[in-house]
Amino acid sequence: MLDWMDRRVRAIGAPVVDALEKLGFGFRFFMAVLWHSLGVFRRFSLITREIYFTGVLSLVIIMVSGLFVGMVLGLQGYDTLQRFGASEALGVLVSLSLLRELGPVVAGLLFASRAGSAITAEIGLMKATEQLSAMEVMAVNPVARVIAPRFWGGVISMPLLATLFSAAGIIGGYLVGVVLIGVDSGSFWAQMQAQVDLYNDVANGIIKSVVFGIAVSIIAVFEGFDAPETAEGVSGATTRTVVTSSLVILGLDVVLTAFMFRGV
């Protein structure tokens, strides 16, 4: 009986302790990355290479998705708005949806699955093939040489990608709304300009994308660094990166939206 209870308590306690331990290690790791960032910015070519792999190579999927999302918003928005006789407000609907929510969030989700998973797999494999240990032997700190550039590459790429997503989406909404359906081009842009605010809408959307960029990048590099040195370990870490990043993006989005758009 006592043995049975003992096992039960252990079964509940162990995952909690493990999770807390991982969270604490993650925080210490985040601090270490920030600590070693200064050296990375002195050798910016390290970051340039990572921006190429996370940002430039994600460009096509981000812009094509943005175009499609904007087109769908144009179609769906027109269908709903014309019931109220307000189809001229299509530009406002498309641009506000993209700038405030869909741009940062969908770009963040795509970024997590396109770039975050690649970062985790790369770092996990470097760890499994003992490249990180080899660096330590050569007195090169792997956090400064491998982790920090990837982290900052992601942080810099994400806002740019979200901005491009929103811009492509608005063009997609324009193509469907104005070119295809025939909403008046003048009122499409004029109403958009009258209703969209640079600070409330554009700047807040960019702040969101910066926060998501930091979250996705730190999760990706941490999962890679923390991955067990086996094939299953790396694949599990890659999956965890995508799942955790997506949940964190959506959760943070609720918090940020509650702060930003309460009274507006």
């Binding site: 070519s45 340039t48 290479r49 921006i51 190429y52 940002g55 430039v56 460009l59 307000a86 641009s95 700038l99 790429s157 806002p159 740019l160 990608l161 901005t163 491009l164 929103s166 811009a167 492509a168 608005i170 842009w189 958009m192 300009q193 009258a194 969209v196 605010d197 640079l198 809408d201 554009v202 960019i206």
Partner: protein, 160 residues
């Protein structure tokens, strides 16, 4: 791939991103109309401003001449004090009147200015004295209901 090629692509990426940002700032949002022109500030007190908001447009004959910069309640008179920023290109006489109007049935509310006939013009710090309040739909309905009730009342009396 060598470093110069990375630099080229990253440079292109950053330029694209900044171009998108400029597109969002200039083409999509209203940064170009955000207080670039010099304005002068006048106030107007209203009994009821309805749903008027800060940054609501000020129009005269339908033309945008400025924006509402501040709204607060005067603690002495309990009237709403609205601060209007009017562009310096436009001058209105001192006896102009301000009213709160609605664009369309469901549209936003704005301040309309009807010019007067006085020779002297409004200048910064002046107050518009002639104002008419926003039409509040609930009050309109209740007025209508009361006037209907008043119409029916005399007919009811002879029957008694």
């Amino acid at each position: 791939m060598n470093r110069r090629l990375y630099d080229f692509w990253v440079g292109l990426f950053v330029v694209l991103g900044l171009a998108a940002l400029v597109f969002l700032a200039l083409r999509v949002s209203n940064v170009s109309s955000g207080g670039a022109k010099p304005t002068y500030r006048v106030t107007a007190a209203f009994d009821n401003i309805g749903g008027l908001k800060v940054r609501a447009p000020i129009k005269s004959a339908g033309v945008l001449v400025g924006r509402v910069s501040n709204i607060h309640l005067d603690p002495q008179t309990y009237r709403a004090l609205v601060t209007l920023d009017i562009e310096q290109d436009y001058h209105f006489s001192r006896d102009s009147s301000a009213e709160i109007l609605t664009s369309g049935v469901l549209g936003d509310q704005y301040v309309g200015i009807d010019p007067g006939a006085d020779e002297t013009m409004l200048k910064g710090g002046d107050r518009i004295n002639l104002t008419s309040s926003a039409i509040v739909l609930e009050k309109l309905i209740s007025q209508f209901m009361f006037s209907k009730a008043a119409e029916n009342a005399p007919q009811a009396k002879p029957a008694q």
